[in-house]
């Protein structure tokens, strides 16, 4: 793989990653955002696989495949199943911030991400590090999505996007963290999604729905 191809593929992957995040903010239907999350997982997996091929590091390629299976297939499937059990509540109820404002806030967050990650690029100006602002922007956008959504499942999607962004950052700046930590992180995101899924089930049984606005008993 040539340097130019490596740069190009990495840039495309990071760009697609960020674009998926933007589209998740834009779209409101639960099913579409879960599908977008799966695409984002694909873009995420492309990063370690490309880096592995370029640096001839087989372990990194394997990690990339694991990430692909986990974040682009298994976790979205779990979420799709949870969405499928919702009756006609497919569409998100009006989010707390309307779409136009959300998109403009996303623009501001992207610019903020670029500003904040300058020291990282300054420390190690390689093609991989230069794509870190995109991953960081996804992290900020994910926090925003979690704060501005009403449905339990949308918050779960936001959380997974946050985790995707952090994993992307890890892969871009260090070609992965030590294996034990990566395993721990993957296990934790799996557990978290399982817990959230189970909680959603309990919530539907107890509250008759998963609108988080109903969770208003505990105040003060």
């Amino acid at each position: 793989m040539t340097q130019a191809t490596y740069n190009g593929v990495l840039n495309l992957a990071a760009g697609a990653f960020l674009l998926a995040a933007v589209l998740i903010v834009w779209r409101r239907e639960l099913r579409s955002i879960v599908v977008l999350l799966a695409w984002q997982g694909l873009a995420l997996a492309a990063i370690p696989v490309t880096e592995g091929i370029y640096h001839h590091d087989a372990a990194l390629v394997i990690v990339g495949v694991v990430v692909l299976v986990l974040r682009a297939v298994i976790l979205p499937l779990l979420l799709v199943r949870a969405v499928g059990t919702e009756p006609h509540e497919r569409r998100e109820s009006t989010p707390l911030v309307n779409t136009t404002t959300s998109l403009l806030i996303t623009a501001a967050l992207t610019v903020l991400a670029y500003a904040v990650t300058r020291p990282i690029i300054a420390l190690d100006p390689s093609p991989a590090t230069r794509a870190v602002p995109a991953a960081f922007a996804v992290i900020l956008i994910a926090v925003f999505v979690m704060v501005s959504r009403r449905r339990a499942l949308s918050q779960a999607v936001g959380f997974m996007m946050l985790d995707n962004g952090i994993a992307a950052t890890a892969f871009l700046i260090t070609a992965g963290v030590p294996l034990i930590v990566e395993l721990g992180a993957s296990l934790d995101v799996t557990f978290a999604v399982l817990v959230l899924g189970l909680l959603t089930g309990y919530m539907r049984a107890t509250f008759g729905g998963t609108d988080l606005d109903q969770l208003r008993e505990l105040r003060g």
Binding site: F191, V195, T206
Partner: protein, 489 residues
Amino acid sequence: MSFLLVLPILAPLTAAALAAVLGWRPLTASVTVVAALCVLVTGVILGFTNGSGVRFAIANLFRTDALSITMLIVIGTVGTLATWASVGYIDAELTHGHTDAKGANLYGVLVPVFLAAMASAVLANNIGVMWVAIEATTVATAFLVGHRRTRAALEATWKYVVICSVGIALAFLGTVLLYFASLHAGATSGDALNIDVLLAHASRLDPAVTSLAAGLLLLGYGAKAGLVPFHTWLADAHSQAPAPVSALMSGVLLSVAFYALLRVKSVVDLAVGTGFLRTGLIIVGLLTLLIAASLLVVQTDFKRMLAYSSMENMGLVAVAAAAGTKLAIAALLLHVLAHGIAKTLVFLGSGQLQAAHGSTRISDVTGVLARSRMVGVTFLVGLAILLGLPPFAMFASELSISRALADAHLGWVLGAALLLVVVAFAALVRNGSRMLLGPPTPGSPAIAVPRSVAAALVAGVVLSLLLGLTVGPMLQLFQTAATMLGGTR
């Protein structure tokens, strides 16, 4: 010797495995208590034998030094008391139908896993392993908080899982950035996250990246420690969880999360100077104190009141860490230990009050001292400790923290903190006296106290008295830990 290092992790895990196989029964519950006792005993033995050195185990992934031994002792003490009380508490819940066999089994498995995760966190030498352990505590406690399966408990669990997961994700990002900086400072990729390696390379860590990492770690681990701005889960989770779990979470988990911050602080202070985290901790600490004190004033629920008291204490601990002197750190550790035991006392007592009244409203509970000598006296003692009254240990720790703040030229911080602590004091006194003193309203239900809960309460009071009257051998431990964390004065 390395067996002793991993015993605090293996013992609770064994208890959990046993509970998974056999379910909730007196045998498994007792094994859990024994496991917690193992943690405590290991901590004490290591405290006597370790001295001021650092010992490593398992490919340098685990370490013991004065700080981790202190935390082990905290975990062991509170763990023993809480698991001892759990025996009677869960049996009482089963009898009264508040939970079923499945719930009890889950409880029996998750509590020792929780203890093992906390022990791993404080024994870890690798910051990544520490992160995994703290994340594991969130996963373990998620269903413990929702033990009762009521609407409020579900809401609390959801908030807890979501907010703490976001926090822990930010902490992971901070860890990754620290790894990045460490690699560029010359560490090899295998041990770049080891604390000893980080301390050795600290002067070469890039300041800008390390500051970014420190900020993220402060936010992330601060979320688990109940510090602003990710504190909103604390009152809900601690008030909805069953009493022994609340005791464990308030008494120890918050401190373990803060321990992670202390470890990070020792590295960051060497890399970017003490100013960065000092400012951060002061802001976060004072804001936490402010919010906790304000919400304490308007409380109507006694379990939430105790949760906000924990938040207030964590704010105070953050401010003490900001001071950073030897005295401050030593006082901080004493505070953490004393607070842990005190919170256990009050939460166990409040658990019995909740069981008796079926509600946690302050206005429903009157004249406890007159109705139940056991709960009344121990609750009074617990409150007295939390209020910082002599002869208990928190009097000495709060005094020392004040002195340390003054020494570090943070007089205005001291003033603000004292003001807020006084506000909290007043609120606690008002609510406590309303609940404990005076004649009970006619028709108040009887307060039953299961034997194991009573035993745990008595043991807690005795320990607090001992700790208050003589810090004794612990003092050496605290001072060694303080010196290690970089306190020079």
